[in-house]
Structures are given as C-alpha cells and as structure tokens.
Amino acid sequence: MRPGPGGCCCRRPVRANGCVANGEVRNGYVRSSAAAAAAAAGQIHHVTQNGGLYKRPFNEAFEETPMLVAVLTYVGYGVLTLFGYLRDFLRHWRIEKCHHATERKEQQDFVSLYQDFENFYTRNLYMRIRDNWNRPICSVPGARVDIMERQSHDYNWSFKYTGNIIKGVINMGSYNYLGFARNTGSCQEAAAKVLEEYGVGVCSTRQEIGNLDKHEELEKLVASFLGVEAAMAYGMGFATNSMNIPALVGKGCLILSDELNHASLVLGARLSGATIRIFKHNNMQSLEKLLKDAIVYGQPRTRRPWKKILILVEGIYSMEGSIVRLPEVIALKKKYKAYLYLDEAHSIGALGPTGRGVVDYFGLDPEDVDVMMGTFTKSFGASGGYIGGKKELIDYLRTHSHSAVYATSLSPPVVEQIVTSMKCIMGQDGTTLGKECIQQLAENTRYFRRRLKEMGFIIYGNEDSPVVPLMLYMPAKIGAFGREMLKRNIGVVVVGFPATPIIESRARFCLSAAHTKEILDTALKEIDEVGDLLQLKYSRHRLVPLLDRPFDETTYEETED
C-alpha cells in the first residue's frame, strides 16, 4: 500500500507499552519502510473504511519510552522516596525544623484533617521543585510576559518577593492560541465600553434576573459560529461540564469516557450517577468493544437495556497533545445509536481552517455531534464555557442546567470580549485578522514541532496540535528544565505526577498566533541548549532536516535509527 506523494497512510496503532507508534510516510523521508509496511498490512481491520473517513492525513505519534530512561526514572523516584521517608523521620523527631503549618492547640485531639501518607508526595517531591509552578505574573499574558521574581531561603517552603520583575519572558505556558490576550485593540476597547455601561457584576442567576441582553446576543453568536441551532453560555468552563453532564444523564445511563479525560468531565460523570466505563485513549477498537458489550449485555446484573449511552471525548487532549479521532467516533456513534459529548476546550479556535474547532478540522458536519461543549478561556482570551447543539437540547438545558438556576451569569465585559473576538475570528468585523491568526498558529505549530523533532526530543501528540508535550521522564529534570528555561528568559510549563503517569513527566509548550518566527527561533535555540545540557534528546527516530524540494519518488532518505 504505497501512499501518494505528500500523503500519509492512516496509522494503525501498534501497541507497545501503551504507546502508539506511527507507521508513516512523509514528504522527503520514510520511516523504516519494512517495519511500517508490516505494521500497516498487519491491521487490515477498518483500514480501507478509515481511508475514506479521513479527508486529511492524521499523524499522531507517542514514541516508546527508552528502556534505560524508564529504569533510571524509577530509580530516581525510588531514591526520592527513600529520602522522603528519612526527612519525615527527622521531622517527626524534631531533628529537622518543621516548616509546614500545624493544627491549633485547641483542636489537637480532633481527628486529624489530613492523612500523613496522602501528603507524602506533596511534602517530599513536590515541595522541592515547587518554584516551577504558580509563578506570579504582572502583565498581560501575551507572547511575552513579566514574571515577578521570588526567592526562597528555606527550600521552597515559603517565598519572598524580591521586588524585581523579570521582563519580557517568552511565554510558552499560557493558553493563548489565537493571541487574543491583549490589553490594546478592538476587543479591549469594546470590553471597556461595556464595562462603563454595565459594570462588572451581575448579582443574580440566569433564571432569576441575571439574564442580560448581552447574554442572549452572545448565545446567538456562538450558535452561528459553531454551525448549530442554539447555544448556551456559562460562567466557568470547569463548571459547564460538572453541572451539565448530570443534567443530561442520570442513573440507568452509561457514560463511555476516554482514559485521559479532564477532571471536569470526570467530576461531571461522577456527579450524574450514571455508570462510567473507560476506553483506552483514542482507541476506537476499545470504544467499539465497550459499545457492543453495553448494548448486548445491558446493565450489570439486571440486564435491562441502557437508557442512553453518552460518549465523552475531548477535541485536543492537553496533556498528550493528541486530537480525537472524530470521524471514527462519529461513525461508531451512528452505528450504535449513542450520543456524543465533545469537549473542545483546547481545540475551539485553534484547529480547523476557519477556527471552528475539531469538527471543522476534519471537515465534518456539526450536526453529527450531539453536544458541542467548549470554553472561552483559551482561544478567545476571556473566561467561561458554552454548550451548543439542537434547539431541544438547549431548551432543556435552559430549564434544567444547574448553572442556569444556581450560579451567577457571565460578567458583561467578559461577554463583550468573547463577542468581539468571535466576530474577529469569523471575519465579521471587516478585517482579515482572524484568518491571519489561524494561519499563523497553524504555521507556528508545524514549524515548532518539526524543529523539535529534528533536534531529537521525544514529542507526543498530533502534528497539528498547538499543544506540544516534550518528554522529560526523570523527576530531577522536571525541576531543572523549568529553572534553566527561566534563567534563559523563557517561561515553560512542566508537569509531573499526578497529572501524568508517574514516569512520563513532560514539559508542555502552548503555541500562540502571537509568537513570531523570531520568538520561536529564540525559544528553539534555548531549548536545544538546555536539551544538550540535561541530555533530553532521547528520540531514536531522528528526522533528517526537511529539504525544501518536492517529493521525488526516487529519493528515499533513510532515517537514523
């Protein structure tokens, strides 16, 4: 099966250590052709069908952890745990000064509020590198940001602000995909006008007297943006999930949730009271098997048929950088008559030729997705969440959503920011700014990912996802990477356990349309340097740098393995 020039055969997941390897052919280079061919041929199941479902190449890769690195990581955690026990022992016997706060004297005989073991990880591992998180900033979170310098004289137990401000740090951590985090420009001016007129608060819920004309305007705009019949907006993205999933499903329903779903989806699923079953991350065979079994065998023990089945997936998974296989999910959903809840928190605005999210990216019909949920925090530079779908769905949510009844509605200047930025993305404000931002983001993504892969880092996720996880693995490198990058004036986000599996700690870059090529080049240079310093270039499939010439059938360049 020889794919055409510039094309890509849809990868068939080859499971190894839970990571999915990619068999792909790309412009200019072939990856161990024999292995790829064998892998592609070995999984004929759904290949031809999927070839028709995907209108564009879907390149996703999760390179396997090298064995030596895995072993060393476990050793690292082992050493840290031992030291943790030692320090706990010393603290208990007062040999070492105890820095953390303690219970009141009057309440010493109450049952202790925290279990000692629960906080073992926090006390002994997180505390050591705590300075990489919660870094306070004091400027708009755009492409460059000002960070307040802080120092700790007691090994991160407490921080003091020196008063210095580290100016112009390249911001690779904020979710600013389309660059709307700005304090100048049309969005800010419009928001300022609305602030003058409406004030900041609302002091009431949607169903009582907090439903402003601005909210109605916003909802109509969101519906037209997404291409759905109606939409409803909420004050907090997290709460949108945790308050609306319980309104949609209840006892006797089944929720099929992806392994790596966000905490808000998990909380919403739990609060609903429905049965939850987990399928492997982005794995359509796993999902199909669960669907089949659910319908054939019904509810556990009673064997009654399920009332409804809801599939919970996200557009872009922010820790993996992977994009959901939406065409296959929709095909499955139609075949088994399930409902689809798509959480586009990171993908709305960031994917797709017109920025309409993952549905636009795959060229699918928004009517196929039953519940389209998203947030305004990432690509629109505001806050809040929305749900879009058919009119019956939105009518139902207007009457039964927990948020509409009990929670305060969105603040008017925030609403105005969303309206203005959405109009800009849609091109309704008369400029091409929106389109330019979308294109800039797509270019930045491709460029950044390619360069990092050429340098030899292990990068997870889909080629088109603006969320770029770079694997660090070892616990010491988490802290080292964060600090070294800050020394070089680049702010990055590092994540470890429990947000990721214990040995798969990573640094996560969030690209933005506000990043110019110069900024990216500076960042890449520094990342290269730090990568050499900390020996982070683990990848064994180094890509040869792309030669700018069209694909020639006769030239195959073997990759260095």
Binding site: A101, C138, S139, G199, L271, P305, T377, S383, P412
Partner: protein
C-alpha cells in the same frame, strides 16, 4: 544429620499409619480418590451455554433504541423564557422593556454601578486585558489575585484566603478537598445546592439535621458518639464536619453559631461556614456571622463565601488558617483545573473591599432598611436582620405566579421567584418570592414595594 532427622520423622509417620483407626484411613483414601477424580474430570464451561452468537448480538444491537438525549420541553415551561434585562442590572433596572426598581438582584451594598469600582476594573482591563489564559499553576497567577487574597485574609482577620473564579464552585470544591469517603458530614436540611453538590462529590456519609435545630444536631452527634464507642479504631480515622450557612439562601434565617461552636468542641467536629449571603451584610464591619455573634474567627475551620453578592463581582473565596486553606491549592478541583479569575473582576473586588472598609456605616443602613420592610410586610413569619425576605405561597396558588411577577413589574417593582431544580434538590424548599433589600433603595421605594406586593398578592394569589 539431616538424613537422620528425616528418617526419624519417616519412622514416626509409618508408626502413626499403623496406629491410626481404620475409619480414618478409609476417609483419607476416599478423599484422595475424589481429588484425583476432580483433577481429571472435564471442566464445565458455563459461558458456552449463555454466550450469544454473533448474529444474535447484531440483532440486539439493531433492536436497541435509546431514549432521546433530552426529553421535550413544552413551550410554556415556566423557566424556559428568561426575563431579559436591557442594560445594567442596577438599582433602576429595565426588565422585558419595563423600567422597574430592582428588588431582585443580590446587590446588597449597591456596588454594582459604583464609579470607583468601575474605574478600578477599567484600569485593570487596560493593563491585563480580559482573560488570564491559564490556571493558577501555569502562569495564571496575577499580582492582583495575590493582592485580593491578602486583602480578604486581612479583612476577615484570618491567616490566608484562596480565590476561586466561580462562586458556585467555591464551596463545591472546598468540601470534597477535605471530606472523603468514610467521613461524616452533618449538614442542615436547608443547605443550598452548591453545598449539596460538594457533598455529593465528596462521597462522605451525609447526616441531615432539621433546619437550625441544635437539639436535632446534638441528637445526631450523640448517636455518632455511640457508634464510635463500638468501633474506636474506625472512629480514630473518621473525620467529622458540620456544614452550615451563615445566612440561609433558602429560608433567610441565620444559623445559631454560638451553640454550634459549643457542639464543635464537645463532639470534636470541624465547622465549615458558608457565608455567601452574610459576608458584607451581617456584623458591625460586614465580616459576617462570626462578627455578628462576636465569635473568634479561629473557632471556625473554614469560611467560604462568594463575591457575587455584596462585593458585586464574580468568583468566590475561602478563608481560614493556613493549615486548612493551603491544602486547597493542590486539591481544590475548581482551583487547580480551572482558569483563574479575570484580573478586572479581582480588581473590582479589591476596590469594593476598600469601599466596605471605608464606610462601615452602610451595614447599619442596610439593617435599618431590612427592619423597615419586615415591618411593612408584617404577617409573614421571618426573623430579623435579613436582607431578603421570603413570603411563602402555596403550590395551589402557583398557577398565577408568573402573573404575579408581571403585574409587579407593571407597577415598576422587579421581583423574582426563587428558582430551584425540583428533582435535584434534596429537600425542596417551598416556593417563594425573593425580595432583596439593598442600601440604594429609598424608604419610599421600600414602602411602595411592600404595598405593591400585598396588593398584587391579594389580587392574584389569594
């Protein structure tokens, strides 16, 4: 040496065999033969009998019809069509095109259209833009947030405060951060929905006590004590919490805090106080129900409030001792996994706090207005010092409820029905009308409102 020992044991065994009674040997022999039989017999495969064929499975999949995703909503569902407010929801509000005096927004201190608050928010907008583009852990912490937390902690005279970006999420994230499966929570029956969701997320044992009934609470605590004595090991690791509200949203009454504190020390349970309505309303300086009763704030383990009522902003906060509050920075779901509060809202809250600190006189003014409206609406059972009043209407009269509100608005008084989710509430409060008193309402307006309510109620509901 070893072989000698082995032989010795062997000799003993053979001797025992000779000496054993016959029935014993026969029984052992039968057992050994049975074991051999079981080992070699065919295993039953129960699944084969009830396994479905592929064809049957496909038929089942074809036949299965799910319920529609949502049940259809009739066009005249009372909650479907919202009242549309044009312009700001301030003292003079335009609802559905009618100009009214606002008796429905929780704008107790009238800070919603205060020019100083707006100016502070505008300055913050010009500096930071609107959104924070990240959670607190990933470059979403602004100096404004740290400032606000500091100011709130100082105002409430506690060690530390933590801010959430949504009022509902505050208590709903705080409770599950401390109370886990196996812990016991004693909560008032009239607790608001956010508390109920927090309790549901925590998976703890919930024990409801009658509203504001300390005798009932004591009875439950005593029962728990008896249980503890039966199983002291379990009792040593089971945490106990009492969750109450300072001013109850559903009934408009104040909780009896001094008795609660006494019960706390007697039965060793921690108190979580939800002060969304009482913050900025009760107490000499607006510090809430602890100041109202003169109780030391250290006696309360956690105070949670939202900034959406008196502070006329958005969001919520928890305050207390660092020992308690710091835990939420890593385990509060609404804090760690959600974007932080937009800086302009935080700046507005700081300015509102400034105003509250500068004029402590407004709390007395509010108190007087509340007393006035209570007197005017005499005949309904309510307690003193409340910024909002519940007058109950029975279910039979509810058919005309929407007419009641339309007629009130025609007479320029904007009121709203207290909204609940009937099927989701644990203990559904009776239907009621919300009347909210704010410092901006003049005495004439208060009199007129009371008069209008009585008049329209007579005409429509009775």
């Amino acid at each position: 040496m070893a072989t000698a020992a082995e032989q010795w044991v062997l000799v003993e065994m053979v001797q025992a065999l000779y000496e054993a009674p016959a029935y014993h040997l026969i029984l052992e022999g039968i057992l050994i033969l049975w074991i051999i039989r079981l080992l070699f017999s065919k295993t039953y495969k129960l699944q084969e009998r009830s396994d479905l064929t592929v064809k049957e499975k496909e038929e089942l999949i074809e036949e299965w019809q799910p319920e529609p995703l949502v049940p259809p909503i009739s066009k005249d569902h009372p909650a479907l069509n919202y009242n549309v407010v044009s312009g700001p929801p301030s003292h003079n509000i335009v609802v559905n095109g009618k100009k009214c005096v606002n008796f429905a927004s929780f704008n107790f201190l009238g800070l919603l259209d205060n020019p100083r608050v707006k100016a502070a928010a505008l300055a913050s907008l010009k500096k930071y833009g609107v959104g924070t583009c990240g959670p607190r852990g990933f470059y979403g912490t602004f100096d404004v947030h740290l400032d606000l937390e500091d100011r709130l902690a100082k105002f409430m005279k506690t060690e530390e405060a933590i801010i959430y970006s949504y009022g509902f999420a505050t208590i709903a994230s705080a409770i599950p951060a401390y109370s886990k499966r196996g812990d016991i929570v004693f909560v008032d029956r009239a607790a608001c929905f956010a508390i109920q969701k927090g309790l549901q997320a925590s998976r703890s044992d919930i024990k409801l006590f009658q509203h504001n009934d300390m005798a009932d609470l004591e009875r439950l605590l005593k029962e728990q004590e008896m249980e503890d004595q039966k199983n002291p090991r379990k009792a040593r690791v089971t945490r106990r919490f009492i969750v109450v509200e300072g001013l109850y949203m559903n009934t408009g009454t104040i909780c009896p805090l001094p008795e609660l504190v006494k019960l706390k020390y007697k039965y060793k349970a921690r108190i979580f106080l939800e002060e969304s309505l009482s913050f900025g309303v009760l107490g000499e300086h607006g510090r809430g129900v602890t100041e109202h009763f003169g109780i030391s704030i250290d006696d309360i383990d956690l105070i949670s409030a939202n900034m959406e009522n008196s502070l006329a902003s958005i969001g919520g906060f928890c305050c207390g001792r660092s020992f308690v509050i710091d835990h939420q920075r890593l385990s509060g779901q609404g804090y760690c996994f959600s974007a932080s509060l937009p800086p302009l809202l935080a700046a507005a809250a700081i300015e509102a706090l400034n105003i509250m600190e500068e004029n402590p006189g407004i709390f007395l003014v509010l108190k007087e207005k509340c007393a006035r409206i209570h007197k005017a609406l005499q005949g309904d059972s309510i307690s003193e010092h409340l910024p909002d009043v519940m007058s109950t209407a029975s279910a039979a009269q509810l058919a005309n409820v929407s007419l009641f509100f339309i007629q009130c608005m025609d007479r320029s008084i904007a009121l709203t029905q207290a909204r609940y989710l009937e099927k989701e509430e644990k203990c559904l409060p009776p239907p009621s009308i919300r009347v909210v008193v704010t410092v901006e309402q003049t005495d004439e307006e208060l009199e007129r409102a009371a008069h209008t309510i009585k008049e329209v109620a007579q005409a429509v509901l009775l």
